[in-house]
């Protein structure tokens, strides 16, 4: 096969995904990059306003509160999810009876729709007849129902739901990583007299380095971008206490409540979208820089 033919074949294979990426991936980004400098509500004439949308964003207390909420939400989710899913992976990677069934059970939340999950959790957590409060009251742990979806607890509840939904997914990725560690390393360590903890610290964790780096990076980006279950559970309320960046952004393009912003804000939304993407990108880059060492496998 000559070079020209090889080139043609390569382009034939690349073309479908390239075209789809250009149309559905690159074009919307270019569109948003243009309209973030415009006052545009989705109809009529788009008016060029320079950096006004960014000025508005700097003054927009609701947006910055959503940024803070996002970091609390992401941190809360990661701090619990990563160690817990790792622990589960280690346990379920052993020759345990019924481990396949347990893996399937833990993985199940990953395949359940976020909206359905949020509705089920609403039934569990609501303060007037939710199961959690009924149990707490029954066992005398609390005297009065806790408003799990109220201002003081709503974000914590959202984090609990996010953890429940994510553990199985990361557990599976960790299991895949664990299964790639050569068994003879553990055998050699055993001969040298190493105990389970020593093996964990000196073999498992270092050997998982690149996988761990990838899993944490995935977890960071997914957590910073997550909003679906919050949208169904609280719509970002009460009064913005669970508003996260991407939910705030979503509402600018697709208003969800008759009482809140009911007019689409394509121009301002594009500016907010650009900055939120920048925030997520910067956090990921910083993480990559800090975690470079994880990539060094012995």
């Amino acid at each position: 096969m000559n070079e020209a033919k090889r080139q043609v074949n390569a382009w034939v294979f690349i073309a479908p995904s390239l075209i789809l990426t250009l149309v559905f991936g690159v074009y919307p980004i270019v569109w948003a990059l243009k309209y973030m400098f415009y006052d545009y509500q989705g109809y009529g004439e788009a008016v060029f306003i320079g950096l006004d949308n960014f000025g508005r964003m700097m003054r927009d207390q609701a947006f910055w509160e959503s940024v803070v909420n996002t970091f609390i939400y992401a941190a809360g989710k990661l701090i619990v999810t990563i160690p817990l899913s790792f622990l589960l992976a280690v346990i379920l990677n052993r020759a345990l009876k019924g481990r396949h069934i347990l893996r399937a059970i833990y993985f199940m939340p990953t395949i359940i729709s976020a909206s359905v999950m949020a509705i089920v959790f609403y039934v569990i957590f609501n303060s007037y007849n939710g199961m959690v409060n009924q149990l707490l009251l029954k066992f005398g742990i609390v005297n009065a129902p806790i408003d799990w979806l109220g201002a003081n607890y709503a974000l914590i509840t959202a984090i609990i739901i996010a953890i429940w939904g994510a553990i199985g997914n990361y557990m599976l990725l960790f299991i895949a990583g664990l299964q790639n560690i050569p068994e003879d390393l553990y055998e050699a360590a055993s001969i040298d007299g190493a105990g389970p903890m020593r093996k964990m610290w000196s073999i498992t964790i270092p050997m998982l380095g690149p996988v761990l780096q990838m899993i944490i990076m995935l977890a960071i980006t997914v957590s910073l971008k997550g909003y679906e279950s919050i949208m169904v559970l609280t719509e970002g309320g009460p009064y913005g206490k669970t508003e996260v960046m991407y939910l705030y952004l979503y509402k600018l393009f697709f208003p969800v409540s008759t009482g809140s912003t009911s007019i689409q804000q394509f121009g301002y939304g594009s500016a907010v979208g650009f900055v939120t993407a920048l925030i997520v990108g910067m956090v990921t880059l910083i993480y990559f820089y800090i975690s470079k060492k994880l990539n060094d496998v012995y």
């Binding site: 075209i19 303060s127 007037y128 109220g150």
Partner: protein
Amino acid sequence: MKKNKWLHTSMALILAAALTACSSSGAVENETSAESTDGTTKLVYWTMDRHDAGYIEDKIKEYESLNPGIDIEMKVMAENYAQSVDIAFSSKQAPDILKVTSLPTWVKKGYVEPFDDHMSDEMKERFKDLIIEEKNMIDGKVYSLPNTGQFWRLIYNVDLFEKAGIQEPPATLDEMVAAAKKITEVGKESGAYGFAGNFKSPSGFERVAYPTTTLGKGMVSEGYNFKTGQFDFTVYKDVAVALRQIREDGSMLPGSESLDVDPLRAQFAQGKIGMYFNHSVEPSVFKSQFPTEVRWAAAMPPTVDGERNGAAEVISGTYLALSKNSEHKEEAWKFIEWMYSDEVQVAYQEAGNGVSVIPSVAAKAGAPDIAGIEYFLPTNEDAIYPANPTGVTEGRVEGVKKGDIFNKFIFSGGDLDKDLADLNARYNAALEKARAAGDTNVQPMPDFNPGDLKGTLVKE
């Protein structure tokens, strides 16, 4: 060479298909309405209303039997209706007839056709008092007309009121606070509380504040003062303080902060709520969605001091619209005209689907066949207000929106005076921008007198 030709052709086709899918303009004709081979004209009708779907389906069958050449396909799209309409118009698949959600926006987007050239003189006469600029008329052209309205009331549990020794529904906000406290005192043991609101949504506060304040003061609708042409949210201070007091007293259903309207209704139907605010859809909700054994009633909203200087605002103005892209405008209009007829609308109200705001219908319609609707029938203290610019302004408001400010005060307290001054400043700045951008032509009405609205729907 031959292979390259095929390759280029295939790639061009893929690219064309992808770009066509994304295209929002072009010469592609509307694809939904069509003439079938047997000569039948197919019309597509979209709505987001579920509660009257059965009735409308029956009416469509009746219309089809009266007009053999017409086939109407109704689609109920309860979720993401506005987005579905946007997508349908950009992909040239818009329906011929649409239930309206946001008329001024739809007119600006070029979705809908004016009624003016289609309406008969008789029809214009029937609706003459219901045509309002920026509600159903834009720049002097009528794009939709109302049929029913939302008549707002305080809904209360008669059993709990009697148990608490309360004889009458509250006429003032103070009485409402006191009633909520008494009900909670006698009901808490069984899990019943005096008051609840669906404060999950920013509209939770508005459902209480708007009817209360329009009936009591009448000068301000959705925060907009008709006389001054400016936003003034200080009129809602008394309502916010009263609701805060109910919360402080422990008389509000736990979880109201995150309550949606359907769970609220479910709790009311179980006898756990003494009072809440909602509109004339509730009787049909309690008939079909949440059947209840509870003895309930509804009353005009309480006011700050018992004075009723205005009229409780009835949310109404639009119903059906005719798509600008329809290939069968005449046929679609005939159906719309029939749907607006007294014959259909009288039966609509009598079937309990809603309360009509059309005077000729209100005069003819008998009592609807649904328990509790009698509390929501029009009184001389219910009225449709002029259009306000709140909807178009809200999108331009910087920072936290009104609903969240009030909800936060009710549940967490704070310096309300300072927040209201800030809210007024931000909304008025946004209003100025909206006016400058041509989003609204609503101007101050120095002669506006809310008392004049009394009796505009019914005299008695």
